[in-house]
């Protein structure tokens, strides 16, 4: 691990710790409104000020960080599991099954990622409770974010399909499911880790985009995307530059994830 990667890892751990201990640091619940002080500047009671509805910005930032940083890895895990199952099964079985899986992958890759999410999100109810909107947003990303990983995993599985250890396992009467779980999956584990890791920043950014467009996490539940919607009011941003903190934190976390990602040599 390079020094830069160590710094990024420490930063990520610190942010994760702050997120876990959010309830200790927050000055007020994230949805509580201080109606007499909307758009207030930083003060002892509200270190980052308040938003247009008088809600404490620090509380919303800490809880929003919790929502984004807990659910993005969850969605990433789901998409990696789907990609691992589909990709390794397609690579191992080959033939028509592989062709169908790859054709489906090509088809979904033909549509831009955000457009695909937008189309699917449009099919689901928009007027839902905030907690349901969080689940919908991240579940949708997890269920639709497997395409590029499938291609990589399928190609890697194809590479080991005719290897000696698989031939030996087949000759001893090993069932396909056992072959997949006991022999193929352990050999592709580094690839799964990388796919999992690279999906996290992608999902964090996608959630931000969806929430800014009004199709992600619904108010009053905070998330990084929701907090960034405040940027539309540029005069309030100019009056209180601390409103930039959510953006700085988002950029920092995404950069840290990109830096911590193990290099290609390590994963091979």
């Amino acid at each position: 691990m390079s020094p830069l990667q160590k710094v990024a890892a420490i930063l990520l751990c610190t942010i994760l710790l702050l997120m876990v201990l959010a309830s200790i640091f927050v000055p007020a619940p994230y949805a509580r409104q201080f109606r007499d002080i909307p758009n207030a500047g930083p003060s002892t009671a509200h270190p980052l000020g308040t938003d247009a509805l008088g809600r404490d910005s620090l509380s919303r930032l800490l809880y929003g960080t919790r929502v984004s940083l807990l659910l993005a890895p969850g969605a990433s895990l789901l998409s990696t599991i789907i990609a691992a199952l589909l990709g390794s099964a397609a690579g191992l079985i080959g033939g028509w099954f592989e062709r169908i899986v790859l054709a489906l992958t090509d088809l979904s890759l033909a549509l831009p990622w955000l457009f695909l999410l937008l189309t699917v999100r449009a099919m689901l109810p928009l007027d839902v409770p905030p907690m349901v909107s969080v689940v919908i947003a991240f579940l949708m990303m997890g269920l639709l974010g497997w395409q590029s990983a499938v291609r990589v995993i399928c190609a890697a599985t194809r590479g080991i399909r005719d290897s000696d250890f698989l031939l030996l396992a087949r000759s001893t009467g090993c069932q396909p499911a056992r072959l997949l779980l006991r022999h193929v999956a352990p050999n592709l584990r580094p690839l799964f880790y990388v796919q999992f890791w690279i999906s996290i920043p992608l999902f964090i950014l996608t959630e931000a985009n969806l929430s800014i467009l009004g199709l992600g996490v619904m108010e009053p539940m905070p998330s990084w995307g929701n907090l960034l919607r405040g940027f539309e009011n540029f005069s309030a941003l100019a009056a209180n530059p601390l409103r930039l903190v959510p953006l700085i934190l988002l950029v920092l976390v995404v950069m840290c994830f990109q830096l911590v990602l193990p290099s290609q040599e390590v994963t091979q």
């Binding site: 090509d106 088809l107 890759l109 033909a110 549509l111 831009p112 990622w113 955000l114 457009f115 937008l118 189309t119 699917v120 999100r121 449009a122 099919m123 689901l124 109810p125 928009l126 920043p201 950014l205 931000a208 985009n209 800014i212 467009l213 009004g214 199709l215 995307g225 960034l228 940027f231 539309e232 540029f234 953006l247 988002l250 950029v251 920092l252 995404v254 950069m255 990109q258 830096l259």
Partner: protein
């Protein structure tokens, strides 16, 4: 070529029918608010119900959609009350122009910075270049759009800001790998000029993946165009897709998916074809 065109058209249709299936089974499909409006007469409500009944089953919906498509009729937008064909004809050039200009700027900037980095090879330049592109990569495209609104920058500039870091990172690593090839080292040892080395020995190796990147960059640019056009209030296809999603406009969603899928497939096929031509020519 004909086979490829047929494949593109059928994949586009599959995508459109897939989105139609999703819409058909979406909660709330077929609920018509106008039926509750007391100003509508019983005959009008009956006519509305009859119209919905025609598209009730999925097979029936597909049949109506495909037969209308064969006649060049893409239906009418439920929310905008205008023919979808007219909407697409108006908005496609806006997005197309923004994407082409945005891609042009992004490719030019990425190529320039990547080649400058290769020629100087100083760690400070490389570090600052990497940090700059990482910073841009970490910005959601919707935030770039909001910054464009505040700075009154045109839509294509915002698109190029989103596309540039992805191109720069890939282009840089590709050129570094190409320059580290043994035949490039041999060419250097023979005393060839840097221009000759680039045109004769580096570009033929790097061109096919760069052309493949063109297809990918097109998809990235269109993906970025959705939040950018929506937030910058630019009347393009991205804004139309966003509007269709928010208003759950069935004919609009199906046809926008069809058009987007076709455009993406054509762009990828062209990039693929160009890559093969380059490989064929270099061999």
């Amino acid at each position: 070529m004909l086979r490829r065109l047929l494949l593109i058209a059928s994949l586009g249709l599959v995508a459109a029918l897939f989105s139609a299936t999703l819409v058909r089974f979406a909660p709330g499909y077929g609920v018509e608010e106008r039926e509750l409006d007391p100003r509508w007469s019983a005959e009008s409500v009956e006519a509305l119900r009859h119209k919905q009944l025609l598209q009730e089953g999925l097979a029936s919906f597909y049949f109506h959609y495909l037969s209308a498509l064969a006649r060049g009729d893409l239906g009418e937008s439920d929310s905008l009350k205008r023919p979808v064909r007219e909407l697409l004809t108006q908005r496609l050039p806006v997005t197309g122009s923004a994407i082409v200009r945005g891609l042009g700027v992004a490719w030019l900037a990425a190529a320039l910075l990547a080649s400058l980095g290769l020629s100087s090879r100083s760690w400070l330049y490389e570090a600052s270049g990497t940090a700059f592109s990482s910073l841009l990569l970490s910005l959601p495209s919707a935030v770039v759009a909001m910054l464009a609104v505040h700075l009154r920058a045109p839509v294509f500039c915002a698109i190029s800001v989103v596309v540039f870091p992805r191109l720069h990172r890939y282009m840089r690593s590709l050129l570094v790998r190409s320059y580290d090839q043994p035949h490039v080292l041999a060419a250097r040892a023979r005393g060839l000029t840097s221009g000759t080395i680039f045109w004769r020995h580096v570009l033929p190796v790097a061109a096919p993946p760069l052309l493949a990147l063109f297809g990918v960059s097109f998809a990235i640019a269109f993906g970025a165009a959705i939040p950018i056009e929506a937030l910058c209030d630019s009347p393009g296809l991205g804004q139309l897709a966003w509007h269709a999603a928010l208003s759950r406009d069935l004919p609009l969603i199906v046809n926008v998916t069809f058009v987007v899928c076709l455009v993406m497939l054509v762009a990828n096929s062209l990039a693929d074809l160009a890559g093969r031509t380059v490989i064929g020519a270099s061999q």
